[in-house]
Structure formats: structure tokens, C-alpha cells
């Protein structure tokens, strides 16, 4: 099959496609959410050590996974944008950032809400939570950089470079924070003390993660359409679209 991959690489051609894909993703996300929540709240058994509070992992862990995955995808689109010089790739990276930031924020807040009943403190300086916090700083930095530069072309590229540089740094940051933890705490309070995974728990977390993933794609596409609309409002094809309504 000779598929022209570049067919959809312009905002003009991708705009209607995004409009069709997004609702499908959101619908899929809703269905997966319902299934995931059902498993999380009704099917998964009570944990012996942590009681009912452990159920928070069904949102905490998938949110954390998404926060990291989205940053990687942002960096990937940044690389594509810089090497192929395609505006759409940069717009996609810009569309993903706020969603990633929200998941990072949720991971931190649910982490706190889990930590308080478990370890008695609203915040524990464990490696994963601390790395999540730094990841939130990176997301905010990226968004601040893009909105701080007026020239759109430069903003896209600067954001792309920052996304790539910081994505490369994320494993370094994580490793250094882990090292820091062992240096200062010895016996670590670790969020890894999740209950040993029963199959249902694992499936529940996976389904919630898939729900978040479908949601992310849908929301990013919706935001992408907004970004395209805002940037291309003077373009001929946009004006044609408007006149068609």
C-alpha cells in the first residue's frame, strides 16, 4: 500500500481529520473510564495492609504514566518538527503540553492524598514524587517559553529545543533524585510500597491508563484544532471552511 504519509502533515488536511478522530477518542475514553472505575471501586479487593485508601493508585499511577508518556511524545513531535520543518508537528507538541501538565498535577495531588493516610505526611520526598514535581516544573517552563515568545516560528522552535533537551534530562533527573534519596534517607519511604499486584489491580490500572491515553489523544486533537484555527485564521482554506457553514 503506497500511503503518502505526508498527506496529512499540513494543518489544512489534518484539521478535518482531527475533527473526526477526536469525538471517537473521547467516546472511547468515557467507556474505558467507566470500566476502569468499576474495577477500581467495586471489583478490586480490599488491600490487607492499606485498606481502601490504596484505591487511589487507580488514578495516581496512570496519571503519572501519562505525564511522562506525554512529555516523551511532545519531545518526539519536536524532533519531527525540527527535522522536517513541519508546522503541524510543532502545533501538536503545543497541543499536548497543557494536558501533560494536568496529569502531572493530578499525579502529585493524588500522591499526596495517598501519602497522608499512609505515611502521615502530605508530602514525602520520595524519588518518584520529587521527580514528578520537577517534571511539572519542566511542563510549566515549556509553556511559559512558548507563550513568552511573540514570533510564532521562533516560539515553536524554542519550545521544541527545550522539550528535547529537557526530555533527555528526565532520566538524569530521576536517577539523581533516586541517588539523593538514598544519600539522605537510607530507609526510604517509598511510594513503591504499593500492595503486591493482584491481577485485578493491574488490569484496573491498565484500563484507567488506556482511558487517560484515549482522553489525551482526543483532547490534544481538540486543542490542536483550536491552535490551527487561531494561527491559520487568515488562510484561504480556513476562510472557505467558514463560508461553508
Amino acid at each position: 500500500m503506497n500511503f503518502n504519509w505526508f498527506l496529512f502533515s499540513s494543518p489544512k488536511t489534518f484539521y478535518p481529520l482531527a475533527g473526526k478522530i477526536a469525538p471517537v477518542c473521547m467516546f472511547l475514553a468515557s467507556v474505558l473510564f467507566l470500566i476502569g472505575l468499576y474495577i477500581a471501586l467495586f471489583v478490586a479487593p480490599t488491600d490487607f495492609q492499606q485498606g481502601e485508601a490504596y484505591r487511589i493508585i487507580f488514578v495516581h499511577v496512570p496519571a503519572a504514566w501519562m505525564s511522562m508518556w506525554i512529555y516523551l511524545v511532545m519531545a518526539a513531535w519536536s524532533i519531527v518538527g525540527l527535522s522536517l520543518n513541519s508546522r503541524l508537528s510543532f502545533m501538536m507538541a503545543q497541543a499536548l503540553a497543557p494536558t501533560g501538565a494536568i496529569f502531572t498535577f493530578l499525579a502529585l495531588v493524588t500522591g499526596s492524598l495517598w501519602g497522608k493516610p499512609m505515611w502521615g505526611a502530605w508530602w514525602v520526598w520520595d524519588a518518584r514524587l520529587t521527580s514528578e514535581l520537577i517534571l511539572l516544573f519542566l511542563y510549566i517552563g515549556h509553556m511559559a517559553l512558548q507563550s513568552g515568545i511573540e514570533n510564532v516560528k521562533r516560539a515553536d522552535r524554542a519550545g521544541a529545543i527545550f522539550a528535547i533537551v529537557s526530555a533527555v534530562n528526565v532520566p538524569i533527573i530521576y536517577f539523581s533524585v533516586k541517588w539523593w534519596n538514598t544519600l539522605h534517607q537510607g530507609a526510604s519511604i517509598s511510594m513503591n510500597k504499593a500492595p503486591s499486584m493482584a491481577m485485578t489491580m493491574l488490569i484496573g490500572m491498565l484500563i484507567m491508563a488506556l482511558a487517560f491515553w484515549a482522553y489525551s489523544i482526543g483532547i490534544a486533537l481538540i486543542r490542536l484544532r483550536c491552535i490551527i484555527g487561531e494561527r491559520e485564521r487568515e488562510a484561504a482554506w480556513m476562510i472557505d471552511l467558514r463560508e461553508d457553514h
Binding site: 485508601a53 494536568i102 492524598l113 482522553y215 485564521r233
Partner: protein
């Protein structure tokens, strides 16, 4: 299903506050994000006309 009653479901073994706040905040954030984007889209459509 292993809850004896709706009451025990809501209490979540005493951890109700934390569990429901977690799930609730998650849902709330995602809904706000979605709603915010719909507004942005609407504003854009109006502005474009």
C-alpha cells in the same frame, strides 16, 4: 462487588475523604479541561464570523 452497603462504600473504610477527593479531583480537572477547550473553540468560531 464486595461492599456490604452503600454507606460502607462511601466511607471507604475511613479513608473516604482521600479516596473520593482523588477520584473527584481527577474527574473535575479533566472535565474542566474539556469544557475550557469547548469554550475556546466557541470563542474562536464567534471571532471568526
Amino acid at each position: 462487588m464486595h461492599w456490604e452497603s452503600w454507606d460502607s462504600f462511601f466511607k471507604m473504610g475511613g479513608y473516604g475523604f482521600y479516596v473520593w477527593l482523588s477520584f473527584g479531583l481527577t474527574l473535575l480537572c479533566l472535565l474542566i479541561e474539556w469544557y475550557g477547550l469547548r469554550q475556546r473553540s466557541k470563542d474562536l468560531q464567534e471571532h471568526l464570523e
